[in-house]
């Protein structure tokens, strides 16, 4: 509980200056607002490379995509104590949304076209290899909970191991690797996806699933009050129409 006696949510935005591209910060905005609209207090902290991650603080982590420079700096930071702290925090029940570069760094490794593999945290049972063709375009997929719409822009091809479940099945676009029709991964309370866009505003089911997981860590199972999602669903529908017409 927060000082006001109301339920509260703690969000940690991982490396916002280096790993936050293609509107990934919109996910923090969306999750925060959907909590506030339900009367839940929200605190957001940012973790920069070199800061110390407190594994007991956050209920939710956002880990976005970045430019090449950013991924180098961040992968080094995660190979230090911050990587261990993040793994402990996730094992302790924190929920995670990782996108593109962040998704790749939570897998076992990223194998570039040249040079040594970049080790990941192995929070997700996935492996990523540099691909020849960059996948750029609208991405529309079907998850059991509803449609998933976003914009992908990646040259890493990700392959799922047995412990990770695909988040969705690709309808338009490429998804994890362009071959097996899978998009994203779910393992425990950690989600990986190639959907930028931002992904949470236009996919409110995903936002609320993550919000419920995050609240559960300190507040127990939560039933979220429904919100009026007219604008969210209208945006989702129109983006899906655009994706179908212009992949």
């Amino acid at each position: 509980m927060s000082a006001s006696g109301r339920m509260d949510l703690r969000i940690c935005h991982l490396y916002p200056d280096l790993m936050c591209i293609y509107g990934d910060r919109g996910n923090v905005i969306a999750l925060s607002q959907r909590a506030r609209w339900r009367g839940i207090d929200v605190a957001v902290r940012e973790l920069e490379a070199g800061d110390t991650l407190d594994p007991d603080w956050a209920d939710f982590y956002l880990f976005g995509g970045g430019q090449d420079i950013g991924q180098d700096v961040v992968s080094k930071d995660l190979q230090g104590p911050n990587g261990d702290a993040l793994k402990r925090s996730i094992a302790g029940g924190a929920a995670v949304l990782s996108i593109c570069g962040g998704y790749q760094l939570l897998g076992h490794e990223y194998v570039p076209a040249e040079g040594p593999a970049i080790p990941g945290l192995s929070v997700l049972d996935v492996t990523t290899r540099a691909g020849k063709v960059r996948f750029v375009g609208n991405l529309l997929a079907d998850a059991p909970q509803g449609p998933l719409i976003g914009f992908e822009n990646h040259s890493g091809y990700t392959y799922l191991g047995p412990k990770a479940t695909p988040l969705a099945t690709v309808r338009v676009g490429h998804g994890n690797n362009g071959a097996d029709k899978t998009e994203g991964a779910v393992q425990g309370r950690t989600i990986g996806t190639y959907c930028h866009g931002s992904v949470l505003p236009k996919n409110p089911w995903l936002a609320d699933m993550l919000l419920a997981w995050a609240l559960e860590r300190r507040h127990g199972p939560a039933i979220l009050a429904p919100l009026d999602d007219i604008e969210e669903l209208a945006a989702q529908r129109s983006a899906a129409e655009v994706a179908a017409a212009r992949p």
């Binding site: 919109g26 930028h196 866009g197 655009v242």
Partner: protein, 461 residues
């Protein structure tokens, strides 16, 4: 001049004449035809430019700065070829040259001022050897098309290596990514803002250069002006903002205008420069134009005179009268541009009526996620109401919703003329509507405004 170039020019000129007969703009197609016949046509056509060519590139401010420059060189008594109307790919340059060229192909003018899309800089530099290259700034913009900023900067730096030593490179000292393009160049002119009080009113949450472009250590800022632009240095490797050759020691922001006090190498004071455009980003545009003027030996007093009489470009704060309301057109196409425009609106104060248009065509960027990197949270408290339109209107309405704009102060209207009509009807007589729009939406709105009888066709400018 080769026969092939002559044929290429003839084909382009015929296309141009044909398009104008049918009342269509001729800003790209004639050049495209010419380049198809002779890919080297630009190189040959620019040989007639007695005072050389100036290339203007960067993410934001290209169009305004190159129009300022065109006015400055004309004030100096030079004739200029200038690609207008935002056609800043190779074909736009060829089209501009065609308009002023003889049938044989040589363009007769003193100077060429060519606005070049930042991703096209390497291509264009492969064709011509300009006297001056200006880079205004590099921000994230249409990442699906333009690459990530680091990658874009690397490509531009590589293309600079082929330039002759005599080419002057004019760079923004306050942008660390741009300033670093000076590495290895002998002839540089830097511009920047030295006013300790200058800083944007929008929190600088999104930046592309928080880390040193040389050693990747986190940069330190004495002062942030816009996004990653400011007084920066790297505490690790010592890379530091270069001392600007053209510096504004004081920037006075006024409603609709900006006064720049420039540092003077001599003890005698120099007259301030007045620019009839608001906002810090226009201060940078004017400083960039003054820096180029200096690189091509045009006096500050001539440049100042031209800037004082400057008229904004198509969709760059252009004002259109419609049924006793004023529509102010503001092109916004990336987070830095949006935040700069918002900053200017907040400096102006008051509550604003907004017509916001979002498209996702190739020229806009097919990825609309940039609206989430833009600081709508700062804009919304100053929004009286918003009419939202465009192909991705519903994405934009959602952005406004999450930034806190209540549903009753926002309406989505499909159809360009219907959206304009609604925005006009919602504004009081004598009132202003700020139109925030992406590029192709601006073209469509402008066509609708012409159909409604409020403006002429833009190529008549």
């Amino acid at each position: 001049m080769t026969l092939r170039t002559a044929a290429a020019v003839a084909a382009g000129k015929l296309a141009r004449a044909g398009l104008q007969t049918f009342g269509r703009g001729a800003t790209a197609l004639p050049g495209l035809i010419t380049l198809a016949v002779d890919p080297d046509a630009i190189a040959r056509m620019t040989t007639g430019l007695t005072r050389g060519a100036v290339l203007v590139s960067g993410t934001n401010g290209k169009t305004t700065t190159s129009r300022m420059l065109a006015d400055i060189v004309r004030a100096a008594g030079w004739s200029a070829v200038h690609n207008r109307a935002g056609s800043n790919l190779e074909r736009g340059i060829a089209s501009a040259l065609l308009a002023e060229s003889e049938w044989g192909g040589v363009t007769r003018a003193d100077v060429g001022i060519f606005e070049v899309d930042e991703a096209s800089v390497p291509r264009v530099l492969g064709r011509i050897e300009p006297r001056v290259v200006l880079v205004t700034n590099l921000f994230r913009d249409q990442l699906d098309r333009y690459f990530e900023v680091d990658q874009l900067a690397r490509r531009i730096a590589t293309s600079f290596a082929t330039l002759p030593a005599s080419t002057v490179v004019v760079l923004n000292a306050d942008d660390p990514i741009v300033a670093r393009l000076a590495e290895g160049r002998a002839n540089t002119v830097f511009f920047g803002i030295d006013d300790p009080a200058a800083g944007g009113k929008v929190p600088q949450s999104i930046s592309d250069a928080t880390h040193c472009p040389r050693c990747h250590h986190r940069l330190a800022y004495e002062r942030v002006v816009l996004a990653h632009v400011g007084d920066w240095h790297c505490p690790n490797c010592g890379l530091t903002r270069p001392r600007p050759d053209v510096a504004a020691t004081r920037v006075e922001l006024r409603p609709g205008a900006t006064r720049l006090h420039l540092s003077s190498p001599a003890p005698s004071a120099i007259d301030p420069v007045d620019v009839p455009l608001p906002g810090l980003y226009n201060a940078y545009n004017a400083l960039a134009a003054i820096a180029v003027a200096r690189a091509i030996d045009i006096s500050l007093s001539t440049a100042g005179r031209a800037l004082a009489a400057f008229r904004p470009a198509f969709g760059r704060l252009e004002v259109i009268e419609a049924d006793a309301r004023r529509l102010r057109l503001v092109l916004v196409k990336n987070p830095a541009g949006f935040n700069a425009a918002t900053s200017a609106l907040l400096e102006q104060g008051g509550q604003h009526r907004i017509l916001a248009a979002l498209n996702d065509r190739d020229a806009d960027g097919r990825d609309v996620s940039w609206i989430w990197d833009s600081d709508y949270e700062s804009l919304v408290p100053a929004v009286e109401h918003a009419v939202v339109t465009g192909i991705r209107a519903r994405d934009l309405a959602l952005r406004f919703k999450y930034a806190g704009l209540p549903r009753e102060r926002m309406v989505v209207v499909d159809g360009w003329s219907d959206a304009i009509r609604r925005a006009i009807d919602l504004a009081p007589v004598g009132g202003e509507v700020v139109v925030l729009t992406t590029y192709t939406a601006l073209l469509s709105l402008r066509h609708a405004l012409a159909d409604m009888g409020y403006v002429g066709r833009f190529w008549e400018d």
